[in-house]
């Protein structure tokens, strides 16, 4: 079951960051401080395991703001269950990502 999946510390941190509102790759990097070589493969694995899902921002919005479109990530139901299990396993994750951000998300 996905809820019982055991994630690495980095993957769990990324999951927490997405839950806290870091919704595209660069913002995840900013929030977690993890390098790109860790974040993007981890995002792919989490998506493959159906813990997160992604969608591309509409091109019109990005064009209007003179920037490239973002690929947004969002936790799935299985992802949220896994996140709860991971927070029990890595309680310090709550301190790495500001609590207010998690609750706000």
């Amino acid at each position: 079951m996905a809820g019982e999946a055991k994630l690495s510390h980095s993957a769990a941190l990324i999951l927490v960051a997405i839950h806290a509102g870091a919704i595209y790759g660069f913002s995840v990097m900013e929030m977690t401080g993890l390098p790109s070589g860790t974040v993007y493969p981890a995002l792919r694995r989490l998506e493959r395991d159906s813990l997160i899902r992604s969608h591309w921002e509409q091109a019109a919005i990005a064009t209007a703001e003179q920037r490239p479109p973002r690929k947004y990530y969002k936790l799935t139901r299985e992802g949220k269950t896994t996140l709860e299990a991971s927070l029990k396993r890595y309680p310090l994750l709550r301190t790495l990502i500001p609590r207010s951000e998690v609750e706000h998300a």
Partner: protein, 492 residues
Amino acid sequence: MSLPPRDWLFRIHVLILHCASMLVPAAKRREWQKEWAAEAWYVWQAAKVAPDASLGGWPEVSAFCRGAWSDAFWLRRNSPWQATLTLASPGVCILFLTIIVAINLLLALHFPDTRNAILPDPHQNATTTVLISRQGLAEVQGPTIRLEEYEQWRATTHRFFTKLAFYQPVRRRVRISGDSTVELSMARATANLFDLIDTPAALTARSGSDRGKPLKLPALVLSQSVWQDHFGADQNVVGRVLKIGGEDVMIAGVMPDTYWRLPAHLDALLLYDDQSIAKLPRHSKGFVLARWRSAALAGGASGMWRWNIPTHDGRYDSFDCMSLAQRSRAALSRFLLTLMLAVLALPAITPLALGDYPGRGARQRWACFRRWTFLIAKIALVLPASYFLSLDLAHFLPGVQIPVSFAALLFGLRWVLRDQRKRCPVCLRVLTNPARVGQPSWNFLAWNGTELMCEAGHGLLHVPELTTSWFSTQRWLYLDPSWECLFPATLV
């Protein structure tokens, strides 16, 4: 996304990311490419406005690109298709063969004797100019004709030859300047040698007022490599006088290395008049070059023939005459002979049938075209690889060209056929997961043998263990698209 024209540095980083994406499996490549390019822009924007930004944020973008390469590498490494980087991939297979051909070609071009077998013949009268050697010694690299024989032919064979030239390899120490001496491989030759091999360019190198005047003998013609190595490529070397074996010799010119294709390695040629040559020991041996009066007399198309000439005591001496054209193509002729022998011997060591690949749709026709193109490309690379390899080894071990060429062709063509048979006809990758099917006793109503599978799910190959009238050769079974869910996405 529109970028200001000055952001070419960012475009370079995007290009680097595109290159990195080439390592990503094809099915996922576009997605990775798009996300990397977008994210790099955000990294750049954030880095250049950061309080501690240095160099406009480019170090951060470069670090992002390095991370992308790392991602792509590990993605490829962890892929079930990582064998793409081995010979299982058709592209890598062709690349590997091309590299083998290139290495052998470069080696062959490096050695003077093998280079002569590859480059076009520079001689204009190569079909009527012949090298005469004692019977059965045409392939020998050493001198075989005595000076007295040359002198006799010069006096008595005008009806056969328009010109005759003699040269004799020797080693001589040459004083280059002051106390600097060097030992060179030379040939004492008659002055008309250059007329015979149609390389007057070397002698016209004489400068100034000497140009066009008769050559003052003895004269020295340096090879280009000696001129460069020992004379510092001095443009004014022509006309300089050197002391060789106690006599003064004037440098008359420089000969390009590719011009000398006759037997014996030479660093320089010492040209003498006929009287000086006649003073050499009469039994000393050298090489004789001759120009036949007409091509009709010159052995026809074969380029090699036997020449019998009466001696003083009423007997006949036999000599082999080989045209320069024949000498140039001798290595290729030997290769073609071994190619014919290898093709004849091939059915003895492997079946020639490639298998039964049914299907008449447009997809199958395209697959058939690719399959045959791949086969022809492999053969087209194995042939020159074998030729150049045989030339290279013959340089170190004279006389091994034929056995090496035959073995390389035979086993090379065998590998081509065997390799072709074990590949998927659609993606041309090597088939995997061999499984034994059935038992020999099934042959009466079914078949037994080995079943191989394409990793991409294009089909199965059935290879019978015992050939029967209803199952004589391997047979391919295309899988329909309903099987695709069982196989990983196509990468290439």
